[in-house]
Symmetry: C2
Subunit: 256 residues, 2 copies
DNA sequence: CAGCGTGATTGACATAGATCAAGGCAGGCC
DNA sequence: GGCCTGCCTTGATCTATGTCAATCACGCTG
């Protein structure tokens, strides 16, 4: 493992507060592995023995029932995943699959649980991370239950634009079929919805999207801070918990 | 506050592991309040200053967007709620409303955050509770995205029957309109779906439901342990985390 | 360069679910 | 008892979304 990798893990909010000893215990028995695209890392229902940390590449989390499958999340570096199953020593509720070649660090779940009982700061960080993930899911569920497909798409585009720097033109970060699944619609419907958004100033050329009249699109999308997390992506602000801490409650935690 | 109330709080998995000192700190500044039916305890977007513990009554958690609202959960005693917002010191993402007269204990959020940094066992319990809540939401989201309305209803009935002891006849625990919202459908549609389930051996008389041919209903519902938590309700097993720890990973934690 | 495979698009159609509009049933109240 | 008021139900209709099928566009490979 390269030194830089460990540093990047250390910088995660999940680990940045814990003691050096805790960190050494956790990473001592860990191993870094490179997986090709399309590898299933974990099948839903499997026992979970490791906390995974995505250092490079893309990972999709998906759920299945009755021969149907749906994308629950698409992760980019640096992200941890299946923390909940590790904490509870339970089976995973979703499958994890690499979407492209990925470097993944695997930390012993048993070690994590043990260390949590000894290092209050680490346990607190785990709690905060879980809370952030929880709130992300609450947003997702509200998005799913309260909005129609076109509205979900419109809001997705608005969010993407902000996350990618706010330019009028940006690229969709995944294949459209996966985006469709993430948004809870069929690829056919996503196609049609994208076409329908032409009326609202959205131009699509392959993976590139241009929002020509943001105000018009917003009038359709009605974005809401209680559903959409419009926090811009800042360097080194990768934890799910951090993304929920915005705007910050006036504590000067934000770098000045 | 009656002594018994404190004991019931202490027995929650969230608190059962923490030190007496921690528990005293938390409950010292707490207060117990009785709210009439229909009281809004918390509006989505509000700052959250307290961790709420429902001791008696029923509380509904709901989300709103664009003049539509949806029920995200219905809580019964003894349950904690809005823990995630407390941990992250963030605004609540859902509203909380009493469905009937309820006794609710309110614990200072600041105290909880402080104590988490000192008592690793408590911080660990918070992490476990959040992980349980998270997994509950993953189940809900899969249920919502992968199943149709009729299937959601069928599975709901199967789960209810098990939770209420497994008898063929049981009562729906809420008003039907709320159940509809929880299941992500309109009241009209719930009515029709219940009628449609007659073909699968479901008889409905007001709030009472009888499942005459469980096997037939299951063939429609296709329940799945990765979506439906069929854990029977045991006395004193109230935490969201505990409900996710089932079947237990062979640790003898379960009472013999 | 031709052929192939994958993903995206488009159209025609089927279905699930929402909406609108009437009733019906039960409990509470005067 | 009669009359409300909610809640539930039922029917008719409309809309959104899924499904099936055909075609297209692209990149890759032989």
């Amino acid at each position: 493992m390269r030194d830089g990798d460990l540093d990047r893990v250390r910088a995660l909010p999940l680990f940045s507060g814990c003691s050096s000893e805790t960190f050494r215990t956790l990473t001592g028995g860990a191993f870094l592995q490179r997986f090709p695209s399309g590898t299933t890392l974990l099948l839903e229902g499997d026992q979970v023995d490791f906390l995974y940390v995505l250092l490079d590449g893309i990972v999709e989390l998906e759920g299945t029932w009755n021969d149907k499958e749906t994308t629950l999340a698409v992760l980019r570096p640096v992200s941890t995943f299946i923390l909940a199953a590790v904490v509870l020593e339970a089976d995973g509720l979703m499958s994890a699959r690499t979407v492209e070649r990925s470097d993944i660090l695997m930390l012993s779940g048993a070690a994590i649980r043990r260390v949590m009982t000894e290092d209050a700061r680490f346990a607190g960080a785990v709690a905060a991370e879980m809370a952030g993930c929880y709130r992300g899911l609450v947003r997702t569920l509200k998005n799913q239950k309260l909005r129609g497909g076109l509205e979900r798409l419109a809001n997705y585009l608005i969010t993407q634009r902000l996350r990618q720097g706010g330019e009028a033109t940006f690229a969709l970060p995944h294949e459209k079929r996966m985006l469709a699944s993430l948004l809870g619609m069929t690829p056919e419907n996503l196609s049609r919805s994208l076409a329908a958004l032409a009326d609202y100033g959205v131009e699509v050329h392959g993976p590139n999207v241009t929002i020509t009249r943001p105000a018009v699109l917003e009038r359709l999308a009605k974005p809401d801070p209680l559903i959409d997390n419009h926090q811009p992506v800042t360097e080194g602000l990768t934890g799910k918990a951090q993304r929920e801490r915005w705007p910050l409650p006036d504590k000067g935690v934000r770098a000045a």
